[in-house]
Symmetry: C2
Subunit: 355 residues, 2 copies
């Protein structure tokens, strides 16, 4: 399936080169810094979920799965990018990971996905009831964590602003999940519906993490807005890349079966781009692959070959890169700093990852 | 089933007399005031959920079912009891109803209850996915609503305190739902486990509504604490009474089948009290009713007769009244006002209602 002659792989090589243009030492330093921040976040999460009851066990299991901790890192780097103190905003960073995991736990129930990050999903490991209630607890955790920032010396007015942003992102996230369901059911969904959906489902929490980081970190409204724009572009780019993974990576790398999108009728950008540009013959072939009852893995391989051959995988990858570039542009109003450099790096790395 | 000679009915008559001791005009005035507050809350909820998308439709359906709107009223009366302005705290009041409905929506999925307030539960009317995501949205709504209070002139510091209380109540609520599951599975559950469970599952949000009302309404920390104690006692009393309803009312009055608790193995106070005091013969009979596969409605009727005959329904009703009395005592530090009088009335009414 991974034919080295297909254009997308060259696109990936370009991006890889673009990241390498940082210089290996620079990239290593950004990676070290991120690893250090992840350790801090994990430490906070472990402390906050230390009790021995069942609710804690369920949430601990979800929080402990090897993740990217992307949202907390974004919040921390955004706070640092406006001169904020990492310790002060750490609870909020951990909280955003909680809200993110809540949406994954609930999503996995809805989609019937049994695997997450290569491990049994929470509802598969425990029960559906545990995954529903555990997810709810992790949503409340975000706001408990925001309240804790007051004890760390963050101004109450900034915390109230952050709460408003977090609550808005949560509503958008739910909106995005509903739209995903509608797209699944409405076969004529367009590329624009998909983009609006992922802006809600994924970019909203990225946007909120960055903007909350800027606000709690003491930034101006303009800085918080710039960070919000950065988070939006990054989130959309990240989600498009995520949806590209079944066509770019092995199932071992992504930690869940490639045919999961097909099994769930999740129509993503490569498919929608290909379908929108298809003549009657190709359209019929695509429709058949989505609607037939044949072997999932086989259908996935045929779909991947089709989307790759017709350039849809490449075009989707180009879209992702465009949003990543928008994200980097949005950072211009911020002063140069290692944190801003990390944020720029994340935007490039988001669209070149294969897991 | 409702034999006028069983003691519980005399107990209900006593409470009814106790409420009537208010004087009919006084009681009517409290009811009018509550009806007026419910109108204000409904107006706010309708305005906040006015968009035409699917998420709004689902949440609107949940919010529109004929409810008691008890938590918003408690928040408003608590705010007024410390001299607060109803308009300023109205968003928070509406928000507590959202969080309450979220827990009902998620609970109904977990319990497989198809009816709620006499109407199809959200997951039955729409889908499980809609009920999960809609519930999540209503949790976020609580915090969006709290943030809105800033625009109404509530001090940021008070809002941050309120957010912490709301988030803590949410965590306790989830804890309570987990405990309920454990009690369901662990046959030897005791009365103390049950009381701890309902303190989390029900009283936590009552406590938070009262305490948040006191805080946002401008009350002192002592006043907010008194209101929190009131809410705790009221919540426990309310939940015990709720669990008594299948033994006191008709299914039409409660809006769901009486055998629902039995179908879900929900062991409530009358059962646990009876089982704890039972000799071997009665214990075996009770166990058989819970564990047998026989006709649900028939088992419920036999269980109700048994619990009534052995005085367990009466003893549970007495427990409820004890907590209601505690709630009223907790209000002593507050100045006399129509709002305090309403709160006192609610505590008495909570344990005399039959729906």
């Amino acid at each position: 399936m991974h034919n080295p002659s297909v254009p997308v792989l060259s696109a990936r090589a370009d991006l890889h080169n673009s990241i390498l243009s940082y210089g290996e030492a620079e990239e290593a330093s950004i990676r070290d810094r991120s690893a250090y921040l992840v350790d801090l976040v994990l430490h906070r999460l472990k402390g906050d979920w230390a009790a021995g009851d069942r609710l804690t066990e369920v949430c601990n299991y979800a929080l402990g799965a090897p993740g990217k901790y992307f949202r907390p890192i974004l919040l921390l780097e955004s706070a640092a990018a406006v001169g904020g103190d990492l310790h002060q905003v750490m609870p909020a960073a951990a909280g955003t990971e909680g809200a993110h995991l809540a949406s994954l736990m609930h999503d996995d129930i809805i989609d019937g996905d049994e695997l997450r990050r290569g491990m049994p999903a929470v509802h598969a490991k425990y029960s559906q009831a545990d995954a529903i209630v555990g997810g709810d607890a992790l949503i409340f955790y975000l706001f408990a964590a925001l309240a804790t920032c007051a004890a760390n010396g963050v101004e109450a007015q900034r915390i109230v602003l952050a709460m408003g942003k977090a609550a808005k992102a949560g509503a958008e996230l739910c909106q995005g999940q509903m739209m995903e369901e509608e797209i699944r059911q409405n076969y004529d969904s367009r590329v624009t519906s998909y983009l609006r959906m992922i802006e809600n489902k994924t970019a909203a929490l990225f946007r909120a993490a960055c903007s909350i980081g800027g606000t709690l970190g003491g930034g101006s409204a303009e800085e918080a807005d710039a960070l919000a724009r950065y988070g939006t572009g990054l989130g959309i780019a990240f989600q498009i890349q995520d949806d590209l993974l079944p066509y770019l990576s092995t199932a071992e790398e992504t930690g869940k079966p490639h045919s999961s999108d097909l099994a769930n009728r999740r129509l993503t950008l490569p498919f929608l781009l290909c379908r929108a540009a298809a003549g009657p013959e190709l359209a019929a072939e695509l429709d058949d692959l989505i609607n037939s009852e044949g072997d999932l893995e086989d259908r996935h391989l045929r779909l991947a070959a089709l989307l790759t051959r017709h350039g849809a995988v490449t075009r989707a990858a180009e879209e992702a890169r465009r949003y990543a570039a928008d994200a980097i542009d949005a950072l211009v109003p911020l002063p140069q700093s290692p944190s801003r450099q990390s944020l720029e790096y994340f935007a490039k790395a988001a669209v070149s990852r294969c897991r």
